[in-house]
């Protein structure tokens, strides 16, 4: 969206002001300014300057800065004024179309499940059932509903098939292999970074910079890096500066500070109104039963409950995910997501717009593995409303890009292409060998990236990885790590002769240390 620099800046300012107008921060600032009028240091002749000074000293300016920073991170730069709203969702027409077709398939699948099982998409619970659920709220995991007839709406491999078939109609998609055809599974010509660009982008991961995950190991004396890093982290928390926190976590978060630092970056403060909002969502869960709940149940039982690290958090997962499905504030992210929330009509009012609703209220239909986005967060946050807000913010900033078709650099299509390009360029023999034996590398790494490696890495390693996702506000590191894992196991992979054998070599990632792998791949491999 090309405006020249000055008008682009003005447009961005005007947009952010529009968005913050009417927010609770806005009313708090107004109230603070009014209250400050009683203070002796506020003089009438220099009213504006004195109030600005007061807001600065009391920390309110910092809160405003954090809110603006958050807006800049989450919302893309404003579109050209002539551009229709779908341009912000996804600029490329053929990708919008592909996303639309994919969504239609999901809707059909969900509808057919409904009709087959004769279960409504939503129903109001009778009072007795509401009471029962309220009593059981903290132990919903003990419930063993019959889920045998439910099946996940889709699994990552179904999604991969769709991405493999994505084509730009204006691109030379000849059948003959040529320099234009990509040797991997992804055939769309998106721009992805190469290693020199990645080295610059992930500069803080370089060999000369201290990292948690490398320089805090037992052999390294803590005076060299760890102690100082912890001290700086504590200072960042005292200053309550989001931008500084985001820069800081690029080198990793000390375990003791991680929960607060992530909350600061995501601008989550858990105010009374946030807790109230969560309670409201909880009451929505009690009142209405959704088909989507059964899908969530099934997903949790199949994935998180079977995981050695996460099964203890099963009850938390239901509390978060059921509320998430009913949270209409999630609908906001559809302005910048290529996806569209599914629509339905109140029974008997088909086609009447006053009775049109979104289903589920959040617009997000969970797929197989969705609960794994929440599970790692349970290690950091134990208070349900805070855990909920952190997950919701992580979803609308990052995770939604992993299961929708878009051209965004952090979208799953770009990540797949980045992975394949990195592997092809820097391990061409391995890539060729795997391709020859029918084991396209993306078939193995796709599920890692879609889940942001949750459930594949050990939790401490996963949290170090997610530190960098927050620090760089990008998911590209997932593709780099996937390539680094292949590079690490290249010797074994060159020996295999089938897809199954390749899968076996890469089945267990739980012993991997992510930061050394990333550092070696980016900075210490001879190219």
């Amino acid at each position: 969206m090309m405006l020249d620099q000055d008008s682009g800046l003005s447009l961005a300012i005007a947009h952010i002001v529009q968005r913050l107008k009417g927010s609770s921060l806005h009313s708090q600032l107004e109230r603070q300014a009014r209250v400050s009028l009683h203070k002796p240091e506020i003089k009438l002749e220099s009213l504006k300057e004195d109030i600005k000074e007061f807001l600065k000293e009391s920390g309110w300016e910092k809160k405003l800065q954090n809110a603006v920073y958050s807006e800049l991170n989450v919302f893309p730069s404003p579109c050209h004024p002539a551009a229709p709203p779908e341009q912000m969702k996804e600029p490329l027409a053929y990708m919008r179309k592909a996303q639309g077709s994919w969504e239609k398939r999901i809707l059909k699948s969900l509808n057919s499940m409904c009709t087959e099982l004769s279960i409504p998409l939503a129903r109001k619970r009778p009072i007795s059932e509401q009471k029962e659920l309220l009593n059981k709220w903290n132990e919903m995991g003990t419930d063993e509903p019959d889920l045998s007839l439910f099946r996940p709406v889709y699994a990552p491999k179904d999604f991969l098939e769709v991405l493999m078939n994505l084509r730009n109609p204006n691109y030379e998609n000849g059948d003959q292999p040529s320099s234009r055809n990509h040797l991997g599974l992804i055939q769309v010509p998106l721009k992805v970074k190469d290693i020199p660009e990645l080295k610059e982008y992930f500069g803080e991961l370089g060999l000369n910079t201290g990292q948690l995950g490398i320089d805090d190991s037992a052999q390294v004396p803590p005076e060299l890096f760890e102690n100082e890093h912890l001290r700086i982290g504590q200072k960042v928390l005292t200053e309550q500066d989001s931008a500084a926190a985001q820069q800081y976590v690029r080198q990793g978060c000390p375990t003791a500070l991680r929960a607060e630092l992530w909350a600061l970056i995501l601008n989550i403060s858990n105010q009374p109104e946030d807790i109230l909002y969560y309670e409201q969502l909880k009451s929505n869960v009690i009142q209405h039963d959704l088909l989507v709940d059964s899908l969530i149940y099934k997903d949790v039982k199949l994935t998180a409950s079977n995981d050695d690290y996460y099964f203890v958090f099963e009850d938390y997962l239901y509390q978060v995910l059921f509320c998430f499905s009913r949270d209409t504030s999630v609908l906001e992210h559809f302005t910048y997501s290529s996806a569209t929330p599914p629509k339905s009509y109140i029974r008997g009012k088909l086609g009447m717009e006053e009775y049109a609703v979104f289903y589920p209220p959040s617009g997000v239909i969970p797929f197989h593995g969705f609960s794994m986005y929440v599970a790692p967060l349970c290690f950091l946050y134990h208070e349900p409303s805070k855990l909920y807000q952190i997950f919701r913010e992580m979803y609308v900033r990052f995770f939604f890009r992993l299961h929708s078709i878009s051209s965004h650099p952090s979208g799953i299509v770009s990540l797949c292409l980045l992975f394949e390009t990195l592997l092809q360029t820097h391990l061409p023999q391995l890539f060729y060998h795997l391709r020859e034996i029918g084991a396209q590398p993306l078939r193995i790494s796709f599920k890692w990236m879609v889940r942001a490696f949750s459930g594949y890495l050990a939790t401490d390693q996963l949290l170090l990885l997610w530190d960098r996702i927050l620090g760089y506000n990008s998911l590209e590191i997932l593709a780099v790590l996937a390539a680094a894992v292949f590079a690490f196991r290249a010797v074994n992979l060159m020996e295999v002769t089938s897809l199954a054998a390749a899968e076996a070599v890469l089945a267990d990632l739980s012993t991997l240390k992510v930061m050394p792998l990333l550092q070696i791949f980016l900075f210490a491999t001879v190219t």
Binding site: M1, M2, P78, P91, L92, C114, R123, V188, A356
Partner: protein, 217 residues
């Protein structure tokens, strides 16, 4: 928004190609779009807005008449006012390929008053694309007033008294920015109106959320 584009006659893109157009298989890589103003005669340009479709570089030439020549009889000169403006930073990849662009008067190399015709020269050096062109072309003339919708007065007083430290020497002039912000405010009001209605929290209709099947439309 009060400003109206100038009605113009846009001739379809013509590919420039050496050799026989029918039998030559090579992709041309250069196309030309001619724009005339049948009603207005001569126009002073303020802004050119268009949607890109896989064009990598844009050159704009304008045909001007001298200001003294009201009857339109005198000689007209073709002048380049924009040279090789980059629309796609990497012509082989998708970046910028379907974006909306604006070219303003102050970005142009020459004076663009008294313009009789515009010629847009499109270049796409990459052979991977089947077609390339420019769509939804709109030309805004000079002299249209910015609409004076209601904007808060604090927007007029954005510059602070103390000058912030000049960090990189590349920061835009605050006076200029604050003048631009007023216009942009109106634009965002327009965009805001386009967006869907704000969510208020309730997902049901009068307490009822009995839904049967999902809708495909």
């Amino acid at each position: 928004m009060a400003r109206e584009p100038v009605p113009c006659a846009v001739r379809a893109a013509v590919a420039l190609q050496a050799g026989d157009v029918q039998t030559d298989l090579a992709l041309p890589g250069v196309a030309v779009i001619d724009v005339a103003f049948p009603q207005a005669g001569a126009v002073g340009l303020q802004e050119i807005v268009f949607k890109n479709f896989y064009t990598a570089f844009l050159t704009i030439r304008v045909q001007r008449r001298s200001p003294a020549d009201v009857a339109g009889e005198g000689p007209r000169k073709w002048v380049t006012c924009l040279r090789n403006y980059c629309l796609m930073p990497n012509p082989h990849t998708e970046e910028g390929s379907q974006d909306y662009f604006s070219v303003f008067r102050h970005q142009m190399l020459c004076d663009v008053d008294e313009v009789m015709a515009i010629r847009m020269i499109l270049r796409q050096p990459s052979p991977v694309w089947l077609h390339f062109t420019i769509e939804e072309l709109q030309i805004y003339p000079r002299g249209q007033e910015s609409p004076h919708k209601d904007f808060p007065s604090w927007l007029s007083h954005l510059t602070s008294r103390e000058q912030p430290a000049n960090l990189h020497g590349g920061l835009p002039n605050p006076e200029k920015v604050s003048a631009e912000v007023q216009q942009m405010w109106v634009l965002t009001e327009m965009i805001h109106a386009n967006r869907a209605a704000a969510r208020i929290g309730r997902f049901d209709v009068d307490g009822c959320y009995d839904v049967n099947l999902l809708s495909y439309t």
